[in-house]
Amino acid sequence: MTDTLTTAPADAPGGPPTVPAWKRAPIAPILGIFVVLCALLTPFALFVPAHLMGDAASAHMRGIESTVTAFSLASVPVAALVWAVTIYSIIGWRHRGSEPPAEEAPPLRGNTVVQVVWLVLSSVLCLFLLIWGLAVLRPTPSAASAGQPLMVEVTGQQWTWSFGYPDNGNATADRLVLPVNQPVQFRVTSKDVIHSFWIVQMGVKVDANPGETTLASVTPDRIGTFDIRCAELCGLYHAYMQTTVQVVSADQFASWVQAQPRATS
Amino acid sequence: MSTATVTLTHGPEELGEVRGRQRLAVLLLIAADAAFVLSLVFTYFYLRALDTEGGWIPQDGRTVGPTAGWVIAGVAVLSAVAYRWGELGIRGGRRGRLLAGSSAALLLVLADAALQTIQLGNLPMPTTDGAYASSFIVLAGYHLVHLVMTAVFGIGICNRARLGRFSAANHSHVEMVGLWWIWVAVSALLTAFTTSFVGT
């Protein structure tokens, strides 16, 4: 592959050499469409995804929501640019008729500056995404700093969840209750097929694999009732494999866990 | 759409061109087959590394020793060598040597298939216990599939050599089957190597 294509003779200015190519292009109307699109998309990106994702019940989920908002905002100019050119090409450059139009358009065979700028910009955006993602991924050691996390054993089986509290005298329960502001570590496994343990409002999701134990941790910071759903197709009643998690105060949790039956093992 | 009849304005395609196409196609087919074999090798090593709940080795601990696998691979290599000897013969126009080489190679492949069948028929461990047993069986079994396919190609080459279809100038089919034959030998060695790692 040679470079000859990008520097084909067509690249040389065909018209009077005094006017640079970009000045002859309809920059102003495309910029106008771009600005309008940005104005429409920015509020959408700011509010709609985060609103749809609902109120977070953990710092982790708030991190996810701000990530979604940040990525949406970062992609607004990208989408607006592409769509602005697209929309303008429909309006401004269209040709109707039943015969092929004459080949009067400038035969552009690439433009090194544009391509390099495009590549650099997309690389920078990519780098931004990566760094942001790693930064949000990292701050899980809050569990370590805040002392011993509460251990909860989560077991999936078709089509129900069961929970065990090994730190609290092996208490078992068929619903999940957690103390507020206390780091929790889930040890997740399955008795039959793959399930996926998903606490929607806390941004916790990890597969329950038969024969393996997977880990997830979170610190719930809001009292209330939140949704647990299975996120991996697990057979007949997959749709109904859902329950709730109740986040309560530390005292309430202590008395609740006392009242639970002990595992007989 | 109607069928137009066009007189052929081009002569027979150039031998060299056809051979080049066949060669690329056979190499691509080998690449596809290699992706399959490597998936099985990956299966073997992945399950061995995971050793889920200590279930790699069957419960009574009985496994197949590596020796038989190397013997089987050795026979496959020998047959590839015999075939290659015949192929080099036809390159110099010696049809008799091609017939002898490919027949010997075919017999060796059939013998190898018999050995592989005997090994699979007399496994010391049950098929339903332990990921080792499963991973071993599928690798050895696929080698058997390879041998059956190779035997079919070998029968074709022997038969056509007998009919005198090949010459020094035109023996691209011999070459193509030869590429496959070499790959089967390589794959047999890979299988023997893989199944040499038994314990975790």
Partner: protein, 645 residues
Amino acid sequence: MVDTAVAETAIGREPRRRVPRLNVLTGVVCGLILAGAGWGVSSWLLSAGDYGADRVVSITMVCWAVGFLVGVGALAGPIRWLLGRDLSVADEHVLAGKDQGVGRYFRFTTDHKVVGVQYLVLSMTLFGVGGLLAMLIRTQLIRPGARFVSPQTYNTIVGMHGIIMIIGTIIMVSGPFGNFILPIMIGARDMAFPRLNALSFWLICAAVPVLLATFFFGGIPTGWSVYAPLSDQAPAGMDCFLITIIIFAISSGIAGVNITTTAVKMRARGMTWTRTPIFVFGTVSSVALGVIAFPMFMAAMVLEGLNRTTGTVFYDAAHGGSAWLYAHLFWLMGHPEVYVILLPAFAAVLELTPVFARKPLFSFLGAVTGIAGIIGLSMFVWAHHMFISGWAPALDGPFMLTTELISIPTGLLILVLLGTLWRGTVWMRLPVMATFAMLWNFIIGGITGIYLSDVPVDQAMHGSMFVTAHFHFTLMGGALTGFAGALAYWFPKMTGRMLDERLGMIGFWIIQIGFNVTFLGMFAVGLAGQPRRVADYPSLFATGNLVSSIGAYIIGSGALIYLYAVVHSWRHGRRAPGNPWGAKTLEWQVPTPVPLENFTVLPVVTSDFYGYGEGGSAAPTPAPRRIAAPVPSGAAATTQEGGTA
């Protein structure tokens, strides 16, 4: 595989009886007979025990496929090779369907143009079935608590919709256009291996009834990804599914080898890589990727089949297996497969945009780099489907990086499209609508893909309707839209008639509007936390699902209009001239209908095919200057070729 000297020896024996032509009916009869025999013998010998039912079903299905292929005449060539009684040149012409009328479309015909049309009809049939299943899914989900079908049936429908659409989209561009158009585009008389070409098509025909039989053997409860160990529990329908995939993997492997060889080895004289149309690059990279990717899928299915019929334990954690093994093998194929689907369609749009913008492709090198970058990266991103499986959390970061890197070559392809439109004279015909729709849809699909590549966001979105909406935006909004454009673009060449522009436009844009309504609604419920593949949902998600279902019906009605336009135009459309779009690639320079041998005189290429506006403003002539008669010495051609040939 014509062996020239062999053909010469065979000519000596003529005249001989022409090869008998079997057809699809003999195939079905022979398949049913062998399937019946296989069923009888296997139920007599093997039906006892835990694995009996699965063994019987598997053997019956394999017997059907083999019988069908024998009956349709697919094995005649190899058997005669074995016997040393090769087909003569006259036999090959008969096999190519010479002078055989419509009947050749129902036979094992080796002419690449027949195979292309067969593929087109097959993929549109699959879209019809898959689309109908999609309508059933959306009807079930139209409101919470619906009981339109049982959860068992629903799960089967979801899985079958998935796999039928996957197969349909994999073959939709590289099948019809890769077979019909690509050889003409590169100046070849046929594919490199015409019999393999027909075999790849008839293998899929053998597989489709097996796939549909899934419904009658208890269905599949697993979705199209058939995750183990759920697939171990599945009824015998799963065996049908596994056999389908194995046959399909063989078929696409053969097709991939054939198309790749054709494009690499059979380009016209003077068609250097820099003069090769971009569609060839897209299709070849896609099918070549499939050659490596699908065997891994096949391996996953073979292992599952062994689990079900012989009691091996590959995915059974209780006996030392692992469900992660399946996920690895599946996604090692699964992510490249996405690009196998997307790239030919994207390349078709890249091919047709310069024609309608009347400008050269903006940065051919950029487009090739973009395609190559996507192909290269696609092998190293599979684990982003396993971020939350827990198999190796330490590797989340690297896989996040590789996944996000894919946005760079993809962005390059978008830039090429925009640059090609830039200051063009955009001729508003039906094919170019795909460019606009794709630029809209694919931006949405790409951006939402970036969310999912981010590990923390994936923890919230994985397994939700958000994922479903995302990949529909790429595969349907991107790839299927590209197919609609490619179909409109090459329809005149393939059928000899123009596609009805008015109906086509109406159908196309109704599909696009319905599509956006459906999947924007699905994004909303996905963000709110609705898992995918559920037969029912809490009333919290009612509005979004209602919107989605309404959108789906809009798609359905648009698709019916587009389908009607296609069928009607095929039979009664206006006769198409040889080159209705004024395009410069070689397939438009041969007459319509294309003669059996494509070219009476093979062309010599002296420049690339995107020289719009570079030879003055004259409209292209029916016989453009770039195609010269073969020059004996090659001197005229080589002056411009330089050393690149």
